[in-house]
């Protein structure tokens, strides 16, 4: 018990250090922009006068010492207050929360698709090792890893609009308004985003299963007459799932990044579109806030995966 609570405290300290470092980097970002960030933020349409610059500097607190600025910013961030958006005047946080749900749904469904299907496919590859069908699936898995998801999305949109005119593949409707329309529009983005994860995890399940199947306890189980199916799905799979869980956590981070591109392809109003729009408008507080929110969620996902990992495999925390 003592070792595992020490493990959790250690991981919590790691978590705090990483989150602190991430926040420093995101905070410094805006201050590293060459040229005067404030003049840039005022935009080309406004006449840039020293008074206007001073006024805006005071509004976003750039006239204070840098460590005060950081603490003001991070204290706001912790309370969910990232200031107001420069262009719309709305709170940054409300813009983020308005765009959060589509990204969450897209990511969640893609993880479900990629991780869920990878288990049967990986088991199949381990069981049928060396057979023609298995080699084909393996080559398909490498291809799945290297297919650009945005290209897959574009080709899918093209095929759907050619073959099934009238079916809308683009855009987003909230699940609460039109559940069927929501899911229908999610199918293609989820496949485009989840396929590389499916390919990656299938390969991982395959090698973990091959590893597990060569262990002594499998030989014992086989000797006492457990049928092949039970051997693969019950005895070996349980142990093969341990490395699998860590990889799901890491892959979720890739998905968060990939979602930015897939949202752009399918015109889904999520966090990715928000970041890209904010960069194009040079709306830096919004850029900072969305990068911080996305990275912090990725860090938290990995933190919980680590804890889960230690819970499943007690050897880790010792």
């Amino acid at each position: 018990m003592r070792t595992s609570s020490r493990f959790i405290v250690g991981r919590l300290i790691d978590l705090a250090v990483v989150l602190f470092g991430v926040s420093i980097i995101v905070f410094m970002m805006i201050r590293l922009i060459p040229g005067d960030a404030v003049a840039i933020m005022l935009g080309a349409n406004t006449e840039i006068t020293p008074e206007r610059i001073a006024e805006l500097e005071a509004r976003i607190g750039l006239d204070k010492p840098i460590y005060v600025q950081y603490f003001d910013w991070i204290w706001g961030a912790v309370r969910g207050d990232f200031g107001t958006s420069i262009w719309t005047g709305r709170p940054v946080m409300s813009e983020i929360s308005a765009n959060l749900w589509p990204t969450l749904e897209l990511t969640f469904l893609s993880v479900l698709f990629g991780a869920g299907l990878s288990i049967p496919i990986g088991c199949f590859m381990a069981e049928a090792r060396g057979k023609g069908a298995e080699v084909a699936v393996r080559i398909g898995a490498i291809a799945g890893l290297t297919i650009p998801s945005f290209w897959l999305g574009i080709v899918a949109i093209f095929l759907v609009s050619k073959l099934l005119p009238g079916v809308s593949a683009l855009g987003y409707v909230p699940f609460t308004e039109d559940p069927l329309g929501n899911l229908q529009r999610m199918i293609l983005p989820v496949i485009a985003l989840g396929l590389p994860m499916l390919a990656n995890l299938s390969r991982l399940v395959r090698s973990a299963m091959l590893d597990a199947l060569s262990q002594d306890y499998i030989r014992t189980a086989r000797a006492k007459g457990v049928p092949q199916r039970g051997l693969v799905y019950k005895h070996a799979l349980r142990n093969a799932l341990i490395p699998f869980i860590t990889s799901v956590g890491v892959a979720t981070g890739y998905l968060l990044g990939g979602a930015i591109v897939v949202e752009q392809v399918f015109a889904i109003p999520g966090l990715g579109r928000l970041v890209l729009g904010a960069i194009a408008e040079r709306n830096y507080p919004l850029v900072q806030a969305s990068i911080l929110v996305m990275t912090a969620s990725f860090v938290m996902v990995n933190f919980f995966v680590d804890l889960l990992y230690a819970y499943i495999d007690p050897r880790v925390s010792q």
């Binding site: 470092g21 980097i25 650009p148 945005f150 290209w151 574009i154 949109i157 091959l210 960069i279 996305m294």
Partner: protein
């Protein structure tokens, strides 16, 4: 030679596949391709034909030429990025393993923090700061890959630093630099080759994503990602530029991935992913 090819079929195929694409990109100007910037307005959005083997884009430019020159953009960007990341990240990883102590702790902590960002998001953040361009994309990818190389090289370096021949070298008074460059580095070369190839494969996808989002190469530079995003707007009129550009990205990325896998099997059978 024939013997080698016979024994390493996968590696030979991967080397050939990658070499073909690199040669196309490298010698594009003397291989007789059309001018990738030449716009022929009466020949816009043509399907593949005898003059334009892969058709033309929305400005009447030859798609084949733009793809071959797009390979150049992609390879130059990604080789620069992976090279820089290897230089900085690899060096930091080796030094961290060699000196241990506070240096190791500080460097690796910093790498952990960079590693905590989702890859594409960090790249986008870097570009938001330095501005979108081909070099911007190269620097962004280099920064994203630096912690990966640092981690990849630190592990094996720790083992080598503890080995008897390094102890021996220290005992006869070899300098730190000599140990790092003539003992550590040569022993890491196979890890470096394999990982550089695998990471190049991924970098090609990141570069394509960035240019697709308008954050990498800017028009009218021939770029595979840009071709996809431009082609997307004319998809129903002419799907060819988008389809061929996608295949080009796929082949390039697939080639380096296969090469990395095959190199791993050949150079270090112990690292083989499947027994």
């Amino acid at each position: 030679m024939r013997q080698f090819i016979k024994q390493n079929k996968l590696l030979s195929f991967a080397v050939g596949f990658v070499a073909l694409q690199i040669i196309l990109a490298l010698f594009a100007p003397i291989l007789g391709f059309q001018d990738p910037y030449q716009q022929v307005m009466i020949q816009r959005m043509k399907a593949p034909n005898a003059v334009n083997l892969l058709g033309t884009d929305q400005l009447g430019r030859d798609v084949l030429a733009r793809i071959v020159y797009g390979y150049r953009t992609s390879l130059v960007t990604c080789l620069t990025a992976v090279g820089l990341a290897l230089l900085v990240g690899g060096m930091l990883g080796m030094l961290a393993a060699y000196y241990r102590g506070w240096f190791d702790r500080i460097v690796m902590r910093f790498m952990d923090i960079l590693f905590a960002f989702p890859i594409l998001l960090l790249a986008i953040g870097v570009i938001a700061v330095i501005g979108p361009s081909t070099w911007g994309a190269a620097i962004a990818i280099a920064i994203v890959y630096t912690p990966i190389f640092a981690r990849l090289l630190r592990g094996p370096s720790l083992v080598i630093v503890e080995s008897e021949y390094v102890m021996g070298a220290k005992a006869i008074g070899a300098s730190d630099l000599r140990i790092i460059f003539s003992h550590l580095l040569p022993n890491l070369s196979s890890v470096i080759l394999v990982q550089a190839s695998l990471l190049l494969s991924a970098a090609i996808l990141v570069e394509a994503s960035l240019s697709f989002l308008g954050l990498g190469a800017q028009p009218p530079i021939p770029s595979l990602g840009l071709m996809l995003s431009e082609g997307r707007n004319f998809l129903l009129l002419s799907p060819w530029p988008a389809i061929f550009a996608g295949f080009a990205i796929l082949f390039l990325s697939f080639g380096f991935n296969l090469l990395g896998d095959a190199l791993r099997d050949t150079l270090d059978p112990r690292l083989r992913s499947d027994n």
